[in-house]
Each structure stands twice: as structure tokens, then as C-alpha cells.
């Protein structure tokens, strides 16, 4: 039976993990390769690397990181953050990334999704959608690291991305991100019902039960989180054991 996936997310700046990682037993907690290898050993199903570097050296350091991770890691990983062209995607895939996620560039020019899917196959094209809830307008899509409201309805945009050939949706609720109050079950469920491709839920995970809820109530295919894993608040193995007890299929 296909299992639900647990995906730790690593924020990368200048080739290093940021957002604070407090792990015992890692000689250098800022080294993304060491952290990735640890997560893989603990049973992570996939990893996401989100590059937030703003410098001109961004591309070179990211490519070097992708090579190092691919060389070391025997589970799949996605790379995202400021990826905007076919050439960007090509160099990352050639260096060993399994999937590439695009966000602002896809909203600026949605045809990019078609071009990437045709060129590289849908299986490696993830569309990351950042959504925020508004009292009057419902869930709207933001770009440029959450600073720009596109005015697009979240479900409509995710459906368009799927129709254009995306292989997966990485849906982050900005309204829940960092709250640890749980995933946004309503929008995750609405998107999951509206598209025929897998949906990764992100933003708000604080407890093991939050993952049970997003899989059972919102039908997410995968759950992504950062800080709860980085700070060791929840171990991946204990999370998966909890899910299995709740009757959710997981790889243990």
C-alpha cells in the first residue's frame, strides 16, 4: 500500500542550513548534508531544500549543495527557492535533484509549468503554492516569499498548475506557518479534492496528532515540517509509530 510521506524541510542560505537547528550528535548542525543524512537514517521519506540565498553566487552554491546531497543521500529530495527558468531546472536535475519546486516564476508566467513538464516530465515538477486566508476573499495565493498577494484563489491556481502538468502541489498555509496550531485542514482538503496529483501539506505542524489530522481529514499525501524536526521536538520514528497506531499507512 502506498504510504503517507513525512518530509523535513531545510532552509538553506549560502549553502548552510538556517532557521536554527539544535541537534545533539551532529558535529556541525549547519551542514545540510549531515542533517539530511540524519533525517534519512531516522526514516524521513523525502527531503525538501528551500534556498533563501539572495546573492549572485546563489546558483553556484545551490548546484554544489545538490551534488553533495545527491552523492550522500539514498532517498529522494526536492529543491526550491527562486527557480525561474528551464536552464535553472536543468542544471539542478543534471546534478542529482529528483524534483524541483517553482513558485513565483510559475505565477508570473504559468506557461513555465507546461514547458518544464514537457521537457523534464511531470514527475519532477512541483508547484509550491503559498496561501493566506482572508476573511472576505478566502484563501489567496502569495508570491515573492509571501510578500505579494496575487489575488488568485488558491484552489483555482492549484487546479491550473495540475492541468498545466505539475506532478505535485506543495501547499503552504501562511496563516498557519509557525503557529504550531496544526495544518490548515480546510484549504488542504479543498485542494486535495480538486486536483488528481499528490498534495504535500505544509505550515502549522506542532504535534503528532496534527499529521494524523491532515492525512485523515484533509487527505494530504505528505506532510512537511521544519522546526519541530530541527529542534528534536518530534522524532520522525516516533511520529511514524504514532501514525501507524492511528491506522495511517507509513513506512517504518
Amino acid at each position: 500500500m502506498l504510504t503517507k510521506r513525512i518530509i523535513p524541510c531545510l532552509d538553506i542560505k549560502d549553502g548552510r542550513t538556517v532557521k536554527g537547528v539544535r541537534f545533539e550528535g551532529l558535529r556541525d548542525a549547519g551542514d545540510p548534508v549531515a542533517l539530511a543524512a540524519r533525517y534519512a537514517r531516522e526514516g524521513a521519506d523525502e527531503l525538501v531544500f528551500l534556498d533563501i540565498t539572495a546573492t549572485n553566487q546563489k546558483r553556484a552554491t545551490l548546484v554544489a549543495l545538490v551534488r553533495d546531497v545527491a552523492c550522500e543521500l539514498d532517498i529522494p529530495f526536492t529543491v526550491g527557492g527562486g527557480i525561474g527558468t528551464v536552464a535553472d531546472v536543468e542544471v539542478l536535475l543534471l546534478n542529482g535533484a529528483d524534483k524541483v519546486s517553482i513558485n513565483s516564476a510559475a505565477l508570473a508566467r504559468p506557461e513555465l509549468i507546461n514547458e518544464l513538464a514537457t521537457r523534464f516530465g511531470s514527475q519532477c515538477i512541483v508547484v509550491a503554492a503559498d496561501a493566506r486566508h482572508h476573511e472576505t476573499d478566502g484563501w489567496q495565493i502569495y508570491t515573492r516569499a509571501g510578500t505579494n498577494n496575487t489575488g488568485r484563489n488558491a484552489v483555482d491556481w492549484c487546479r491550473e498548475a495540475a492541468d498545466r502538468g505539475a506532478g505535485e502541489i506543495l501547499l503552504t498555509s501562511m496563516s498557519n506557518d509557525g503557529t504550531k496550531d496544526g495544518f490548515a485542514l480546510d484549504i488542504t482538503g479543498a485542494v486535495s479534492r480538486s486536483v488528481s496529483i499528490p498534495v504535500v501539506a505544509s505550515g502549522g505542524a506542532g504535534t503528532k496528532q496534527d499529521f494524523t489530522n491532515v492525512f485523515r481529514q484533509a487527505h494530504a499525501d505528505a506532510g512537511l515540517a521544519a522546526s519541530i524536526f530541527h529542534f528534536g521536538e518530534i522524532g520522525i520514528r516516533e511520529l511514524k509509530e504514532h501514525l501507524r497506531q492511528d491506522g495511517i499507512p507509513v513506512r517504518l
Partner: protein
């Protein structure tokens, strides 16, 4: 041991090269017919779209060469599907015809999304390729098309109906999942292949 990894611009070959490196073996990424013919083992990875992959194989004459190979051969993901006769992908595409299966698309449903993406279990394992594995071991899949179960099937997986997770005919072995991305289980399968 000389290992040839076939280069036909079929996607993520780097991961396969890295996986072999982790096992301490150096592989040659090549489309050179003589190098491929002389290799002790041949790996045929692939991702992406079947019609463009077939165009590239034909352009390099590999569609003629591959069926004549006699050393242990391992197709991975699209590299497995291309060994079949025909696929629905790309509006219908004829393929290498080394194995007698026709590749079809998953129908998909709200409970069974397409692509079939993630970790799923193996059943009905046979042949030395799966030496040391357990039934229900997990491997990583990403695909929208599949080969049905037949006499050539040496491992199967359910999504929701059973399909071929691995196939074999003579020296030609192939797996639908990504051995190079399937953790210790995938590594064991690659090791087993290198011992064939």
C-alpha cells in the same frame, strides 16, 4: 568490473552514478556501442517521457543495439517501460519490444492520485535480484504509466490493482521503482544486480 550506464539524455542519471559510487564501483556514462557491448553490466536508467526517449535511442542506434546485449542488464523506471512493446504515453509510442508488455496509464481517482508517487511495498518477489529482501519491503516509485502483471513479472505492487514492479526476460532485468532512491532496500537490489 566494467559498468556502462546508458546515456540517452533520459533524466536523472546522476543519482544512479552516485548510488554506484556509494557501492564503490565506477561506472561509465556512455552511448558508445562498443563500450556498451563490452561492459560486464549495463544499467539503463530513465525518467521523463517515452516518445522523446525513443527518438533519442533511435537517433543513436541504441534501439538496434540494446536487444542484442547478452550481459546482465538493469532497466530503471522509464528504462523498464522502454523495454516493452508499446506505451500509451505520447499518444501511443512503439518501444524496444524486448519484453512482451504494453504500458498503460493509471486511471487515477481521489484515493489513487497520478503520478503514483512515494513508498510502496513489493510482493511476489522472485529471482536473485531480490536476494535478502522481505515481502512487503518498501521502495520508492514515481510514475504515471505501468506495465501489467504477466509471466515476466518478478515483483509486483498494488496501486490499487497489482502491476509489475519488476520484470525479467533472459539477461534483461528491470524495475519500475528507483533503486537508487530506495534507501538500504534499493542499495541491496543494486548490489544483487552487480553480483548477477
Amino acid at each position: 568490473m566494467d559498468i556502462a550506464v546508458i546515456d540517452y539524455k533520459g533524466g536523472n542519471v546522476q543519482s544512479v552514478l552516485f548510488a554506484l559510487e556509494r557501492l564503490g564501483v565506477q561506472a561509465m556514462l556512455t552511448a558508445d556501442h562498443d563500450v556498451i557491448r563490452r561492459a560486464d553490466k549495463v544499467l539503463f536508467p530513465g525518467e521523463g517521457e517515452a516518445a522523446s526517449a525513443m527518438r533519442e535511442l533511435r537517433a543513436q542506434g541504441l534501439d538496434e543495439l540494446l536487444p542484442t546485449l547478452t550481459q546482465p542488464f538493469l532497466g530503471i523506471c522509464l528504462g523498464m517501460q522502454l523495454l516493452g512493446r508499446h506505451t500509451q504515453e505520447g499518444g501511443g509510442t512503439d518501444m524496444l519490444g524486448i519484453l512482451p508488455f504494453d504500458v498503460v496509464r493509471f486511471e487515477g481517482s481521489p484515493e489513487h492520485k497520478v503520478p503514483h508517487m512515494g513508498w510502496n511495498t513489493l510482493q511476489a518477489l522472485r529471482t536473485p535480484l531480490f536476494e535478502g529482501l522481505q515481502q512487503e519491503d518498501y521502495v520508492y516509485f514515481v510514475h504515471s504509466y505501468y506495465a501489467p502483471v504477466g509471466h515476466y513479472t518478478i515483483a509486483q505492487t498494488e496501486y490499487p490493482a497489482p502491476f509489475s514492479a519488476a520484470v525479467q526476460h533472459r539477461n534483461f532485468y528491470a524495475v519500475q521503482f528507483h533503486t537508487e532512491k530506495s534507501g538500504p532496500v534499493g542499495t541491496r537490489i543494486l548490489e544483487n544486480f552487480l553480483k548477477l
